[in-house]
């Protein structure tokens, strides 16, 4: 119980830290924008055609924009603390509405990619780990290292050129059809699979050399039974922990891959928001990405504890 509480307390603090970092960066972005802030807000509220000097003046007095930067920073952070992210400067819609719209598409892509990587990576890793030092093990090591050296956008480029342009098997970009999902998901999955294969291989090799493995074999269990009843649990804990840290790479990959393949998710929205200097949207997407990482890692902490309930070192 205390473990769960301690984990939750740490993750809550981390979430607050993420919000603070994003808030400070967003405030600095707001200050760094050219032009008069009152006029920009008036334009965002009432539309560029209707924004006039009078309206800008009204906004200035209403929001107290002539106050010092410290007061303004306090207001900015207070808005953030109330989770009031404001409206997009481009579409005029509330930021939450826009993000709720895009998050679904991103989660779909990320989930398919993650599932695909788990189908590819760990089975290969387990197979290699069972025969550590063998020919397959060494080949996998080299392949995984080479794949890790290829950045995701380059992998996407190669996949587009080979599968979409040369062989005409799949559409290169778009959204809607299930076939549109294959290339972006595969691009993300290959990088993740390389990493998880490596972790699964190390965990499996460690387990295969452990006394627990030897004892299970001595009991007369078949290789399949040993793997199913004892091996998987030993591999799952390190794999899950590592996966938690990989989520930040997944988020980074999502930004790049969505933009390349025209997938209308949160990464795509982020790049567009940066392009248009739409600070409320940048803040919103950054916050959602950071907080998702914290949330997913909280779940993973608790799951790992269930899988491996032994007391962790102090």
């Amino acid at each position: 119980m205390t473990f769960a509480l301690r984990t939750l307390a740490f993750r809550l603090l981390q979430a607050a830290g993420v919000a603070l970092v994003v808030g400070v960066m967003s405030f600095l972005m707001m200050r760094a924008m050219p032009g008069d802030m009152a006029f920009r807000i008036a334009a965002a509220r009432y539309g560029y055609d209707l924004a006039s000097a009078d309206l800008a003046e009204a906004v200035r007095t209403e929001l107290n924009l002539d106050a010092g930067p410290l007061v303004l920073f306090g207001q900015w952070m207070a808005d953030l603390a109330r989770l009031d992210l404001g409206r997009s400067m481009v579409s005029g819609l509330p930021v939450w509405e826009e993000i709720a719209h895009q998050l679904g598409a991103s989660l779909q892509l990320a989930a398919v990619a993650l599932g695909l990587s788990l189908l590819i990576g760990p089975p290969l890793g387990i197979y290699a780990g069972l025969r550590a030092g063998g020919r397959f093990d060494r080949a996998l090591l080299v392949a995984a290292a080479a794949l890790r050296a290829v950045p995701q956008f380059l992998l996407g480029l190669v996949l587009i050129v080979v599968l979409a342009v040369q062989l005409r098997l799949l559409p290169a970009a778009g959204h809607g059809d299930i076939s549109h999902l294959v290339l972006p998901a595969l691009t993300l999955a290959l990088g993740l699979a390389a990493a998880s294969a490596r972790i699964a291989r190390d965990a499996m090799a460690a387990f295969a050399a452990s006394p627990a493995h030897a004892f299970a074999c001595t009991k007369g269990l078949s290789d399949g039974q040993v793997l199913l009843h004892h091996g998987l649990r030993a591999i799952a804990a390190p794999l899950l922990t590592y996966l938690g840290l990989q989520f930040v790479l997944l988020a980074e990959g999502v930004v790049v891959v969505e933009t390349i393949f025209g997938w209308p998710g949160i990464g795509h929205a982020l790049i567009h928001a940066v392009f248009h200097r739409d600070v409320p949207m940048v803040q919103g997407t950054a916050l959602v990405m950071g907080l998702s990482f914290v949330l997913l890692n909280t779940l993973i902490d608790l799951a790992v504890r269930r899988i491996d309930p032994r007391e962790v070192r102090a």
Binding site: Q14, A32, P151, F153, L154, L270, V282, A286, G290
Partner: protein, 257 residues
């Protein structure tokens, strides 16, 4: 051992190309010869011409120079900052240690590309934004490394004896901490530089990195992608250069212990 030497050799060759290339080639990265667009190598442009008739050799060597400069500057800054803060946190302990660790954990939740993009809105120049954004993310790795080493070392009898004899924190750092931290830096630095180079190219590729006429690896790839049927060799050059850079750095980093 041999793969590491291979990595250093490859990186050395690329650095030499970046340093010497711009000095010895005659055309420069912006000179256009539209009649020779997408043409193969000749006496002036040794790697051929791009879609606007600019020398690929000139652009490639300038792009390597840019990527390597930003990446090394960002990682060096991150290393200095991370080691300093890590040593400080474990030396002082208490709320400073907890605060810095929490800050590190918070920044860890944000993708590096996001940090660079936000810096790009704040800072006026793109290379500066890359440098600041990458350093703002990468210091964490060095911070954690230093902190974990320093915490055990600072509790050792050797440090206690040194303190009793009146040696200050600088002496303890140089004589006791540094010999422990130094050898661990190679892997972290190589991975840091590799990540920085990949980030610069990735953002260039999705058109929010360096701006158009600047020669940059990711930008060159996306510019040459439409004409890859006519000139596959031209597209292959930035791709191969990027891959070779990342491969050499990964070889130098070696396996993760």
């Amino acid at each position: 051992m041999t793969t590491r030497h291979l990595g250093f050799g490859l990186l050395g060759a690329l650095v030499a190309l970046a340093l010497i290339g711009p000095l010895i080639e005659p055309l420069g990265p912006f000179k256009q010869t539209l009649l020779r667009a997408l043409a193969g190598p000749d006496a002036l442009a040794w790697f051929g011409y791009d879609h606007l008739g600019r020398s690929m050799f000139a652009r490639l060597s300038q792009a390597l120079r840019l990527s390597l400069t930003i990446a090394f500057a960002a990682t060096a800054t991150a290393a200095a900052l991370g080691i300093f803060l890590g040593a400080l946190a474990s030396w002082r302990g208490g709320w400073l240690d907890r605060g810095l660790s929490l800050l590190a954990d918070s920044v860890l939740a944000l993708p590096a590309l996001l940090m660079v993009l936000m810096m790009g809105v704040i800072l006026p120049s793109t290379p500066l934004a890359f440098w600041a954004g990458l350093a703002a993310v990468q210091w964490i790795e060095f911070f954690r490394l230093t902190r974990s080493v320093a915490r055990s070392q600072l509790a050792s009898p050797a440090v206690e004896a040194a303190r009793l004899q009146g040696f200050g924190p600088v002496w303890v750092f140089r004589r006791i901490l540094w010999p422990e931290i130094g050898p661990m830096l190679r892997t972290a630095t190589a991975f840091g530089v590799a990540n920085a180079i990949a980030a610069i190219a990735a953002l260039g590729f999705v058109s929010v990195g360096m701006r158009a006429p600047t020669p940059e690896l990711g930008l060159m790839m996306v510019e040459l992608l439409p004409s890859w049927r006519e000139a596959p060799f031209a597209l292959l050059q930035p791709v191969a250069a990027c891959f070779a850079l990342l491969l050499s750095l990964n070889l130098i980093a070696g396996g993760r212990e």
